[in-house]
């Protein structure tokens, strides 16, 4: 398949400008959804399910510790997820 690579640009690289335009569009669509907030359905769901609180104060959840990375445990059978490692600091996407 002669898909992504256009000979003109070599290596299929987008110019910075195009990358920026693409990024803006993508974020725009994403933010459209984020701005819809939280549908009642999910508020109700979480109320019904009575989310148990784990140990640890709110501050810990809100603010990741910046100690060494320490792998979290797996998610168990339902979601066979590789643990997300701590510490995780949210950063704006680097372009």
């Amino acid at each position: 398949m002669s898909k992504e690579v256009s000979p003109r640009r070599g290596a299929g690289r987008l110019s910075r400008k195009d990358q920026g335009r693409l990024g803006d569009l993508l974020k725009q669509v994403y933010e459209d959804v984020v701005r819809e907030g939280i549908p009642e359905r999910f508020q109700n769901l979480l109320n019904e399910l009575k989310v148990p609180d784990t140990k640890g104060p709110a501050a810990e959840l809100a603010q990741p510790k910046s100690s060494e990375a320490e792998p979290a445990e797996g998610l168990g059978n339902g979601a066979r997820g590789k643990p997300v490692e701590a510490p995780i600091v949210r950063t704006a996407g680097r372009e």
């Binding site: 335009r21 974020k27 994403y30 819809e36 769901l45 399910l49 640890g56 590789k82």
Partner: protein, 182 residues
């Protein structure tokens, strides 16, 4: 926010971006909301594996991504149609998303291979770092980088936003997108 329920509160706070991730992944608002619901239920069922002090949002994204993957395996035939038959079934809520580019972006995203799609969204829209995205997608940081790069090139093609040279750039992106016909 009710500070007596930090876990619940941080789950609720993550819902808007979980939905955005889900909609970008599966292209369909109803399916996305089912996916978010599934994610929340799995998260609550496995709450003991969440480590306080780590990023709740990244944890939930991991679960959602896995839930999508397992659903995707079931729907493989449907989703692997790169020619857009699957894309035609994409549905968004027209009242809330009246803009043409919303559907167009979802349609284009649906044409990307899922691993490229998720990488691009996590990096380009959700604001995760490459390291976080790699943890969520269970792959190496370098793999995320190359997936994002391939996804960008392909998406640019699909949306016709590649300018042949820098002179094309003063056309606004919106105009380019709106000019496209289905």
């Amino acid at each position: 926010m009710n500070t007596e329920h930090p876990v619940k509160d941080s789950m609720i706070a993550a819902i808007p971006s979980l939905r955005a991730f889900a909609i970008s992944l599966c292209g369909n608002v109803d399916r996305a909301d089912d996916l978010v619901q599934e994610t929340l239920m799995r998260a609550i069922a496995h709450l003991s594996s969440f480590q306080p002090g780590t990023n709740m949002s990244a944890w939930l994204f991991t679960i959602l991504r896995n839930a999508f993957r397992s659903e995707y395996r079931k729907r493989r035939r449907e989703v692997e149609d790169a020619d857009g038959k699957y894309a035609d079934t994409l549905k968004s809520n027209p009242e809330q998303h009246s803009r043409v580019e919303f559907d167009e972006m979802l349609t284009a995203l649906a044409k990307l291979p899922p691993d490229q799609r998720e990488a691009l969204i996590l990096i380009g829209a959700s604001g995760f770092s490459y390291e976080e995205a790699a943890a969520i997608c269970e792959c190496a940081v370098g793999t995320i980088k190359s997936r994002v790069s391939r996804a960008r090139s392909r998406l640019a093609e699909l949306l016709s936003i590649e300018s042949p040279d820098e002179f094309g750039a003063d056309q606004s992106t919106r105009a380019v997108v709106l000019d496209k016909t289905y």
